[in-house]
Amino acid sequence: MTRAEPAWQLFERHFGALRRARRTESALIFVSLILLFVVAAAWTHFSPATIFDGAPRIGEYFEKLFSIQPDQRAPPVAVLSWSHVFGGTKEPQSIAYWFYRFNVYALLLWQTVQMAILATVLGYCAAFVLSFPAARNLTTNRATVFVSRRLLEFMRTVPQVVLAFILVWPFGIGPLAGVLAITIHTAGSLGKLFSELNENADLRPVEGIRATGAGWLAQIRYAVVPSMLPGFISYALLRFEINVRSSTVIGFVGAGGIGQELKRVIGFNIYEEVSAICILILLIVVAIDLLSERVRHRLIGALR
């Protein structure tokens, strides 16, 4: 005959068991993470030594930015003064000297933004069309849903730079290949988001329109689209921000925009221009992020 266990002992026992289980699980997760890290590091030859070897070269880069080499052989002389930074285009390493090709860059940046605009609009149209057959609640035919979903998946999973690289062959070097690549990617990712929105649609208006004897298209047009539009547009603006960012790099494979110029100056080792372009890209990306956030908030406010 054993005495009944007191309540506190029972609690302690259960608590201890639970705690041990959780501790073991945490330890397991920790160990497997470390293991994964070691395996991955070994596979990629990742070692701190290489990074420390490379670190001085980053310093070198900044040193070159803020110094003048009076002659090929002479050691660079560090200069950092007010008159030097704000000097004219003739003064080496001044701001004006960095940006002496500003007009070219401005034009290319404008082209980059326009690529993003066109790709977002075209991708939006394609995503809009594809999102209705891909929504389970609006399309009864299983095969249609399956095919349109796989198509969207394919369009968004192939990396767009790869797509641009391939499209440069048939469509030639220039912004067209870039626009097409971004369009396809945009259609894929927006299409998925839109179809998810559609699946949450209220079906009562659809039934109401169907009761009047309207066809599928009319049901979509009058029952689904009006309630979904604010969400669609909000997602499209978010996508536009992402597209501006990607159109800055898509030029690396010859698909137009500022990326093509950046690749060129990096190839020629023109340090000032590399930094000038990077700064410009950063500025335009941040500016468009802020602008689009404003527009989005206002639009959502106005449409609701």
């Binding site: 890290f37 590091a41 990742f46 999973t157 048939p170 067209l176």
Partner: protein, 273 residues
Amino acid sequence: MSAAAAPALPRTTPLWRVMRLVIGVGVFAYLIYLLWLFDFDRVFTNLPGLWIIVRLMIDWSHFTEWDHAELLGSMAETVAMAFLGTFLATIIALPLGFLGARNIVPSAVFRFLTRRIFDGCRGLDQFIWALVFVRAVGLGPIAGILAIMVAETGILAKLFAEAIENIDNKQVESIRSTGAGQLAELRYGIVPQILPVLISQSLYSIEANSREATILGLVGAGGIGLRLSERIQINAWDQVAYIIVLILLTVTGIDLISRLLRLRLIDGPTSRG
């Protein structure tokens, strides 16, 4: 035919209607201009070229002659790069997130500066960071890892800072009321609240980065991208298609694993925190 029964239409003045028409026509004209600017007619005239490439892509009759070990090895390298980059970024971003959170660091100036640093890391694409690091540490996967790390640190630090700002302060106060020190407050008051965000975001980032990392090789930063660009340059379109299929399979696989892990770690039976 009773007009009274009809619901009231939204008021539109003629001026507003004209304005709307003008804006609509303007936007439409601008889009047409853009189509013209980017030579959109070439899409139709050059379709036969695309067709030739597609036909070459689907011909896999030389499948056994391809260097499978190299391709699969590079694919694994890409995944390893994404994992390492995101892992390091998470470790770096966590303390940075605390520094950027309003309820931890009250100084507005300091917070403004840290937030701008996050923006700077995020603003440049991973691809551009990869170029920078290829110059610094040379060709190879390490440049790619560092590029992923820097770009991802900016993203994660911002998200973590927001998560920390949104925690429930009651839990922190109750820990403090037991007389616990600062460290215990952090460990038992704040960390359990942000852990779900941390885990799910990091998993999502690994997913996204393994997709992004496939292109870093195009600038020499390691992974499958280098193989892909080689194959494109020698017009080996069948292998290009194979590599794309490999990428699709890998990305889908990682999506699946991370979804399972997320379910297990966040909504799982033993995880209550």
